[in-house]
């Protein structure tokens, strides 16, 4: 599935690379002990270091380093045993030090790759160039006062991972698939919550166009792309814009552009000439970071099963389709839930109940699996009741509806409402006999060849048993008695 732009002078290919900033899940900031949680009162989580008071020094947060290693391993990437923190110098009110501590020449994580799943069911490998740790900036607020700006330093100094991809992405769909997969991996690893709306995962998109087979064109970096939809739209718009310029005889300027979601367009933020000279140099307050092999191995041992591994295992062990497996692994909590339900039970049946019944109901209410009042063990118990013929599949749906409302155990609901399936052949035979006796005309019609009436008899028996009669026994008895 090739994505191409039809220009007036032929077709064009778009080349995309992504820079994703992911906020690291950690109790405290990258170089200070201040809390890193969200939503606190402005400037309530600011240490002396974060405010860049005179004489304050950064001390590296070991846990943030561990999170970066974990992420690197999750991206199948090389962990660099020596990395260096450098200062990126520029002035801005929400950057108290006058420099951001980042990694430049020697990032903590080197080359890696991830496999993305495309809408047509195919997969593609996207290269990861690097991952480095850096400080987040604070927040400038310009709309609270006509002439003043406010600064909130709560985010100042929080750890970010910048994850840079190779320019391997060729379409808006691939770009969103990349982001989705990256987000899924980060969530599995518990290193970033991946909430693009809250800004804990932000993407800058580098876009250029070229004639298929030609060398790379000049790229523009598009910022402020804060949702999957925005990524899609920004790429479509920007690629089209570049094609029009080139076909019109113009030339693309390497520049930073801003995505305006309201107007649906990108516009110039600053040109290459206006670009800052960041004067990177190694931060003399911090020693180079050396990672012991033993530490990396210890982190590797704590890695959870990653989405792709899980998907293939689900397909193999539970006989699931690729589609069902993909839906189940999309969230770690969902996959974990499914595994509890499926454990020791029929995998396909478990998948059906989780996907069709539970996720169907939750989706309708706009809830996720973690909001479910039905615990995985309870859903498993419901499946057990079907398997051991305590209730029929049909009754099970009613029991499920009740569980979804009350959170009660299925056995309790079955008991309370007397839904236990009747498997006593004598009792069912009695009802079958009654139905046959009450419907002589239909019996005659059936016996004269109207096979379709069989369903009518099953329905009648079910009705009389209030749905509790075992359908297999009904079938068996009816067949026997009607054929007499």
């Amino acid at each position: 599935m090739t994505y191409q732009i039809q220009g007036e002078q032929g077709t064009w290919e778009v080349v995309i690379g992504m820079e994703v900033h992911a906020q690291v899940i950690a109790e405290s900031k990258l170089f200070s002990g201040a809390a890193a949680s969200f939503g606190a009162e402005p400037n309530s989580q600011v240490s002396l270091v974060d405010a860049a008071m005179p004489g304050m020094l950064p001390v590296l947060n070991e846990y943030c380093v561990e999170q970066a290693i974990r992420t690197g391993l999750g991206l199948n990437a090389k962990i660099n045993k020596t990395s260096v923190f450098e200062r990126k110098n520029y002035f801005y009110p929400d950057l108290p030090q006058g420099y951001q501590i980042s990694q430049f020449l020697h990032p903590i994580v080197g080359k890696g790759e991830i496999e993305i799943d495309l809408p047509d069911g195919t997969t593609k490998t996207i290269g990861i160039t690097r991952l480095h740790l850096e400080q987040d900036a604070g927040k400038s607020v310009h709309d609270q006062h006509p002439t003043k700006s406010y600064v909130d330093l709560n985010r100042s100094g929080c750890a970010l991972m910048e994850i840079v991809s190779e320019p391997d992405i060729r379409s808006p769909d691939e770009a969103t698939a990349y982001l989705s997969k990256l987000r899924m991996i980060l969530r599995y690893l518990d290193t970033c919550d991946g909430n693009m709306e809250e800004g804990s995962m932000r993407a800058d998109v580098n876009i250029s166009v070229r004639k298929p087979g030609a060398g790379y064109g000049t790229r523009c970096e598009v910022k402020n792309v804060n949702s999957l939809k925005a990524v899609q739209q920004a790429i479509e718009y920007e690629a089209q814009r570049q094609v029009e310029i080139i076909e019109g005889g113009g030339k693309i300027d390497q520049e930073t552009r801003l995505w305006d979601p309201a107007k649906g367009e990108t516009r110039s933020m600053r040109s290459k000439e206006e670009a800052h000279d960041y004067r990177y140099f190694p931060d003399p307050d911090l020693l180079p970071l050396h990672l012991a092999d033993s530490w990396i191995e210890r982190v590797r041992e704590t890695l959870p099963e990653l989405p792709d591994q899980k998907k293939h295992r689900f397909m193999k062990d539970f006989g699931l389709s690729a589609y069902d497996a993909n839906v189940l692994i999309a969230e770690r909590a969902r996959a974990d839930y499914f595994e509890i339900v499926a454990k020791g039970r029929d995998g396909k049946m478990a998948a059906n109940w989780v996907l069709n019944e539970l996720l169907g109901a939750l989706n309708k209410d706009g809830k996720s699996i973690t909001d479910s009042v039905i615990a995985a063990g309870q859903l498993g118990a419901l499946i057990d009741l079907i398997s051991d013929n305590t209730i029929s599949g049909k009754i099970a749906k009613d029991v499920f509806a009740e569980m979804y409302k009350s959170g009660k155990d299925p056995a309790e609901i079955v008991e309370e409402k007397g839904l236990k399936q009747v498997t006593d052949t004598g009792a069912i035979e009695k009802i079958v006999d009654e139905v046959i006796a009450e419907n002589p005309d239909n019996v005659a019609a059936y016996r004269s060849g109207k096979d379709k009436l069989f369903g009518f008899f099953v329905g009648q028996v079910m009705k009389k048993s209030q749905g509790k009669a075992n359908p297999n026994i009904i079938n068996e008895l009816l067949k026997k008695k009607l054929s007499l």
Partner: protein, 493 residues
């Protein structure tokens, strides 16, 4: 009662212990002396109330048998150390009125051991200078004068307030910081002793940063042993400073056995610089002779990259400073000059807040870090810095300690070297190498020149070789028997 301000720290501690006088009396004597010598401008802020309160607490501790290592000793604190609730300016207008909510690790350590703070001593702005003439709070005047000449002389820099105060007996010791010689050169100019310990020995936490990879705190005092006492309290591992070393602090004074038999003293030939006064050369030779007669072996060594030390220093130090001083932007604390917009505010604040020398170094530092120049200057300087370090390591295969002059001249008059910044930078020629290599360096007075001004000798040691430095310095001190006093101090005594 003897003149309390003329005691050494060692003597004062004995006197306090014997109840010859109280810490309050000792402190009051210094407060009185400070008033007499206010014209030296050694202190930016005097804190007599704090000092007397601390002294009273000290007396209580001593009475209760809980006196610390330097309990009741009144000190001057260089105004580069952040002191909780007491104005800390780095001698810059940009921090005028700034009162930290925190106490630097070094001053905390001193207070933990019972030190009394008399005030914040003057310095070159942000510790950038060798003459204490760049302070926003005025020049510091050296208590020493040339014979029959009333010209005001500089106390050296950047810790000129501290060195002048110790020499003038208006504190018993003081803290300094040394980025390129800022403890050792003023110690030499003021006829006292001072040590810059190994990089990482004293925490930089709470010290206003100049050049992070070179800055190191250390003490000033009138004797070598007093320095040993003060450094023991100041030093120590601090988890808040990632560059501080996690190793135990020895009892430096105990290392002063006076026995240096068989110790090898290196004399680097490259330190015989052109234009160095013959008197300094003579003093150096005198030092060599003293050590020889004490049983040490003299070894000629070579430090071939010495000639690059000054240019390397004047690339690395301003580069780091240009970044370290970016935080003084008028946004959160200190001086703010309002402007028409953000950029205008930054420009006005920094143009009016920083003095000329600081602005010059920020410009130099910004330049050497710029795209296109970074490799040619900063990267190359870092490479040469490594070579300078290697020079020392090879020299220390042949010797245990290096002996050199501290500065290429005695104290000069205010304004004398100001026409040419490069000439001023030459003051640091013997001291910057120690900072670039991270080595400990101790300066002590060795005699007077023909004009009656003190001249100093410097000892450079291996990393963590402070104990050897103190021991050798003790031997020189004894041989030199430097007892001269500035005339004004003698008169006041």
């Amino acid at each position: 009662m003897t003149n309390l301000t003329h005691l050494t720290i060692e003597q004062a501690l004995k006197g306090l212990e014997k109840k010859d006088f109280t810490a309050v009396e000792l402190t009051q004597a210094h407060i009185d002396a400070m008033e007499k010598f206010r014209s030296l401008n050694a202190y930016i802020v005097e804190t007599p109330e704090i000092a007397l309160k601390q002294a009273a607490e000290s007396d209580k501790r001593r009475a209760g048998g809980k006196a610390g290592l330097i309990d009741g000793i009144p000190l001057g604190i260089k105004d580069l150390f952040c002191t909780q609730g007491v104005q800390t300016t780095a001698a810059s207008k940009i921090l005028e009125g700034f009162k930290p909510e925190y106490e630097s690790t070094v001053t905390s350590n001193l207070f933990r051991d019972g030190a009394v703070m008399l005030g914040k001593t003057n310095l070159d702005e942000f510790a950038m200078g060798s003459s204490n003439t760049t302070s926003a709070f005025g020049n510091v005047i050296n208590p020493w004068k040339r014979k029959n000449d009333n010209t005001d002389l500089v106390p050296g820099g950047s810790s000129g307030g501290s060195s002048a105060a110790v020499a003038a007996r208006i504190c018993m010791g003081a803290t300094g910081t040394d980025t390129g010689g800022s403890i050792r050169q003023p110690a030499a100019f003021c006829g006292i002793a001072g040590i810059k310990p190994t990089y990482g020995r004293c925490s930089r936490w709470g010290v206003v940063a100049f050049a992070s990879s070179l800055d190191q705190a250390g003490p000033f005092a009138r004797t070598v042993k007093d320095n040993a006492l003060l450094l023991r309290s100041m030093a120590g591992y601090d988890p808040k400073d990632s560059t501080s070393a996690d190793r135990p602090v020895p009892d430096y004074a105990a290392a002063m056995t006076g026995n240096i038999k068989g110790l090898k003293i290196g004399v680097p030939k490259e330190y015989r610089v052109e234009g160095m006064p013959a008197e300094i050369e003579k003093m150096w030779q005198q030092g060599i002779d003293w050590l020889k007669s004490a049983g040490a072996e003299i070894v000629d060594v070579s430090l071939p990259h010495t000639k690059y030390a000054l240019p390397v220093y004047y690339i690395i130090a301003p580069a780091e400073a240009s970044s370290n001083l970016a935080r003084y932007d008028g946004v959160r604390y200190g001086k703010r000059v309002t402007g028409e917009n953000l950029k205008d505010m930054y420009q006005k604040t920094r143009a009016q807040g920083f003095g000329e020398e600081v602005r010059r170094r920020i410009l130099v530092g910004t330049y050497v870090l710029s795209a296109g120049y970074y490799d040619a200057y900063y990267i190359k300087a870092q490479r040469v810095r490594r070579l300078i370090y290697n020079d020392f390591m090879s020299a220390f295969e042949k010797c245990d300690v290096l002996l050199t002059p501290t500065a290429p001249s005695a104290a000069f008059a205010i304004g004398e070297n100001e026409d040419d910044p490069v000439k001023m930078y030459l003051n640091d020629v013997f001291t910057v190498t120690g900072n670039l290599a991270g080595l400990p360096g101790l300066a002590l007075p060795a005699g007077l020149d023909s004009q009656g001004l003190p001249l100093g000798l410097q000892l450079l040691g291996r990393p963590w070789g402070e104990e050897t430095l103190f021991n050798v310095a003790g031997v020189i001190e004894k041989a030199a028997n430097f007892t001269a006093l500035p005339a004004s101090v003698q008169k006041a005594a």
